[in-house]
């Protein structure tokens, strides 16, 4: 049945063959087991991709891009997940990289792009603040010019993987008296080891440590760390966030979970049979599988429409909404496969040797179920996506 074009089908075969060859078995085993990955796990795989020239597929050719279409990026993401490759951390490659390419000066390009392209510099994102999440423009971190430096004061939150980061890009207010709150914001980068930057880990409800609070106390950064023009940061941020929407559908993860769900159900012993013999459970598995199918096809449809028109499609919000729903439901079902053991929990995913062997998998699944609650919240909540669709697609007035 033809869904991919022939070129894309060939591309998939090429990606599959490369990953099968290049992905170390131990790396895949660890990623698929569900335990938390560290900096070296992520960077190890990124360097392999960098060598192949596949790490920064959407960048312009002169900066190391390889010209993949949106469908090809999608295929790469799905194949990577199915093979158990560590996911690509987006902050350098998909977020700050394109901003520097578009709005940075030559010195900044020379300083920062190689580290991203070669997977040696880990970036983190300093956008959200305790009082500025969905309403990002109300951020309060200040940057005051002092000679050839800026002095930064403020607090960022939900800083994903700040604990691994070498660099941070962030928004700060350079003109506090601007008439509109979107004005007077600037876009900066800073070394994480700059004096005055401290990171406080946030333990999440699954017991994991992915996110942090980042504090800026009289942090002096050189004026050349300003990207683009002063007070224009909001437009760069919008540019950045529109790029973020590419992987929004999370089809790779969905496919991985679906592939495993069926097998797990079939291999879960219940008395003399398996859980697949339970019609009520089978019905839920089937229904979730069809939801996932609908979501994948919708993703392909919208990506290929974007690819054709060259314009971002506001319907993409549908992918964010459904992606988080489908993933949440699959994680829930995988947890329910475990029956009573679904109630177990390992507060520290790094490994607790005390947990009986049979409970390791259930504990990881329950942790993931809890962790996946984030998908409806981060990167624009479901409610924000619905506001966008109501306004842009349905043309309803606020």
């Amino acid at each position: 049945m033809q869904v991919y074009s022939e070129a894309d089908t060939r591309f998939r075969a090429e990606v599959r063959a490369f990953i099968a060859e290049a992905l170390p078995a131990e790396m895949a085993r660890k990623a698929r087991s569900g335990v938390a990955l560290n900096r070296e796990d992520y960077f190890g795989w990124q360097r392999i991709l960098a060598e192949q020239g596949w790490l920064t597929p959407t960048w312009p050719a002169e900066h190391g891009g390889c010209g993949w279409t949106p469908i090809q990026q999608h295929i790469f993401e799905v194949e990577s997940h199915l093979a158990g490759a560590p996911r690509i951390i987006p902050f350098g490659i998909k977020m700050v990289g394109p901003v520097i390419i578009h709005f940075g000066n030559e010195a900044q390009k020379a300083a920062y792009l190689p580290g991203i392209r070669e997977a040696t510099t880990w970036w983190c994102q300093g956008f959200s603040e305790p009082g500025a999440g969905s309403d990002l423009a109300s951020l309060r971190t200040r940057a005051e010019r002092d000679g050839d430096h800026y002095v930064i004061n403020g607090q960022k939150t939900w800083t994903t993987y700040a604990q691994y980061a070498d660099m941070i890009f962030f928004l700060a207010r350079t003109k506090p008296d601007a008439p509109r709150k979107q004005e007077g914001i600037s876009f900066f980068v800073a070394r994480m080891d700059t004096p005055g930057i401290t990171v406080r880990p946030i333990t999440t409800l699954d017991g994991g440590h992915e996110i942090n609070e980042t504090f800026f106390e009289d942090v002096r950064i050189p004026a050349e760390n300003l990207i683009g023009e002063e007070n224009k940061g909001w437009s760069y941020a919008k540019f950045l966030l529109s790029n973020e929407r590419a992987g929004i559908a999370r089809v790779g993860e969905v496919r991985e979970l679906i592939r495993d769900l069926h097998d797990m159900t079939e291999s879960q012993p219940v008395g003399n049979g398996s859980l697949l013999d339970d019609p009520a459970f089978l019905r839920r598995v089937t229904s979730a599988e069809i939801d996932a199918l609908a979501h994948e096809v919708t993703t392909l449809r919208l990506l290929s429409r974007e690819q054709e028109s060259g314009r971002p499609n506001p319907l993409t919000s549908v992918l964010k909404i459904r992606g988080s729903e489908v993933l949440g439901r699959l994680a829930e079902l995988q947890m329910e496969v475990e029956g009573p053991l679904a109630a177990c929990f390992r507060p520290s995913p790094a490994g607790d040797p005390e947990l009986p062997q049979a409970l390791l998998r259930p504990a990881l699944k329950t942790g993931r179920y809890l962790n996946y609650r984030k998908f409806g919240i981060f990167g624009g909540t479901t409610e924000i996506q619905k506001n966008i669709l109501a306004k842009t697609v349905l043309d309803l007035k606020g």
């Binding site: 049945m1 033809q2 869904v3 991919y4 074009s5 599959r16 469908i71 194949e79 199915l82 093979a83 496919r255 679906i258 592939r259 069926h262 089978l282 019905r283 089937t286 229904s287 599988e289 069809i290 939801d291 199918l293 609908a294 979501h295 994948e296 096809v297 919708t298 392909l300 449809r301 290929s304 429409r305 690819q307 054709e308 319907l315 549908v318 909404i321 459904r322 409610e383 619905k386 506001n387 669709l389 109501a390 697609v393 349905l394 043309d395 309803l396 007035k397 606020g398």
Partner: protein, 382 residues
């Protein structure tokens, strides 16, 4: 061309179908057609024949267009938008595809041109009383006689049966299944027509000692079962596309109503809770559209398993979604959508029909689950 979307040509076909229906089957016109026999517009039907869309699903060597999938879907979306009453699904898609798949060359030449010409209306009699959505004949039996057979039994909820010229009757013989073509006027065939909740006509059929000549058996055994399963999948795919068209139109009406209707001095479409409910409809529609497109492509598949899996996946999803969509759209409107004179209530009823016709959610979930599971890292369509 964009993946899983209509091509330029298919879009033109869709547009011309829309124009045809707008001029012959506007909401006002169809309400008139509905209440007088045959329950649809003969003029519209003749137009459909004229522009050639009745030939779409048939093989090219007997005058067809050879496109039971995406082209039929394009037409059906428009039929769904217009909640058109003409027996396209019944005669062309279901009846036509059964013959196209099951008949031998002789029968094909005899019947297909008449179906394409719109003069022969074969209705596929799928269901029997007390056997729910089962696709195999259980209580309808063919007893061999000297020359041919005698048919006895009953069929129910035969789509288009009220205006059919012929019935395609799957029947159980001693050790095989027969697929019989029975003119509606045959002695012993009693037809009781009625209206479905989607305003389309249907019928119950009682067969009492209906004589059958050997030439009336289109095919038998595996081939008969395959023909019915094939036509069923083609019909399911077409019905899914119809539902997408109906949802699309109902969402347009809902949106417009929210934008127009005022309460407490403002358009009710400015209330965030209603906006989000309307967005839920939009999200559902996009899922249904995707699965409908996938099913339409699967229909042309040679591999029966994938074809059936994709068609049942689409219908399982759409069976639930169509009904809930209708409920929510009515709720978003308020009182107006409870009135028969409002177009939206006919769309909502049509969605109820689409939910239950050709198998409900449970039936298709089970049918999907019986197909070979996804293997390894393959995609659903591999």
């Amino acid at each position: 061309m964009s993946i899983l979307d209509y091509s330029e040509e298919q879009r033109m076909l869709k547009d011309s179908t829309r124009r045809l229906l707008e001029s012959h089957c506007s909401f006002k016109q169809r309400c008139t057609h509905m209440t007088s026999p045959p329950g649809y517009s003969k003029a519209a039907w003749e137009q459909m024949v004229e522009v050639g869309i009745t030939s779409l699903p048939f093989p090219e060597d007997c005058g067809g267009f050879g496109s039971p999938g995406v082209e039929v879907a394009a037409v059906m979306e428009e039929i769904g938008r217009a909640t058109a009453l003409e027996p396209y699904l019944a005669s062309i898609v279901l009846g036509g595809s059964t013959i196209a798949r099951g008949a031998d060359a002789h029968h094909l030449q005899e019947f297909v041109p008449a179906i394409i010409a719109g003069s022969m209306h074969p209705a596929l009699a799928l269901y029997e009383p007390d056997h729910r959505y089962a696709l195999k004949p259980m209580g309808t039996k063919a007893q061999a006689r000297e020359e041919g057979w005698i048919l006895n039994g009953a069929k129910t909820m035969v789509l288009g049966g009220d205006s059919a010229t012929h019935f395609l009757i799957p029947a159980k013989a001693t050790d095989t299944t027969l697929l019989c073509l029975v003119p509606a006027s045959t002695h012993g065939v009693r037809v009781q027509g009625y209206q479905t909740v989607g305003d389309l006509g249907a019928a119950d059929i009682i067969l009492e000692d209906v004589p059958l000549s050997p030439s009336q058996v289109i095919c038998s055994g595996d081939r008969a079962e395959d023909a019915v399963e094939y036509a069923f999948d083609v019909g399911v795919s077409a019905l899914c596309a119809e539902a997408v068209g109906t949802m699309e139109r109902l969402l347009e009406l809902t949106r417009d109503y929210l934008d127009t209707r005022k309460q407490f001095g403002v358009a009710i479409g400015s209330f965030q809770a209603l906006q989000h409910q309307a967005v839920d409809l939009l999200v559902e529609l996009e899922q249904c559209r995707s699965l409908s497109q996938l099913a339409a492509r699967a229909v042309s598949e040679q591999a029966t398993g994938r074809r059936t899996a994709m068609c049942s996946a689409a219908k399982a999803y759409i069976s639930r979604s169509a009904r809930v969509f209708a409920q929510q759209a009515i709720q978003l409107h308020g009182g107006i959508a409870l009135t028969d004179e409002y177009e939206g209530s006919h769309l909502a009823r049509r969605l109820t029909l689409q939910s239950y016709a050709l198998g409900d959610e449970d039936f298709h979930l089970q049918r999907y689950a019986r197909q070979p599971a996804l293997s390894g890292n393959n995609a659903w369509w591999d």
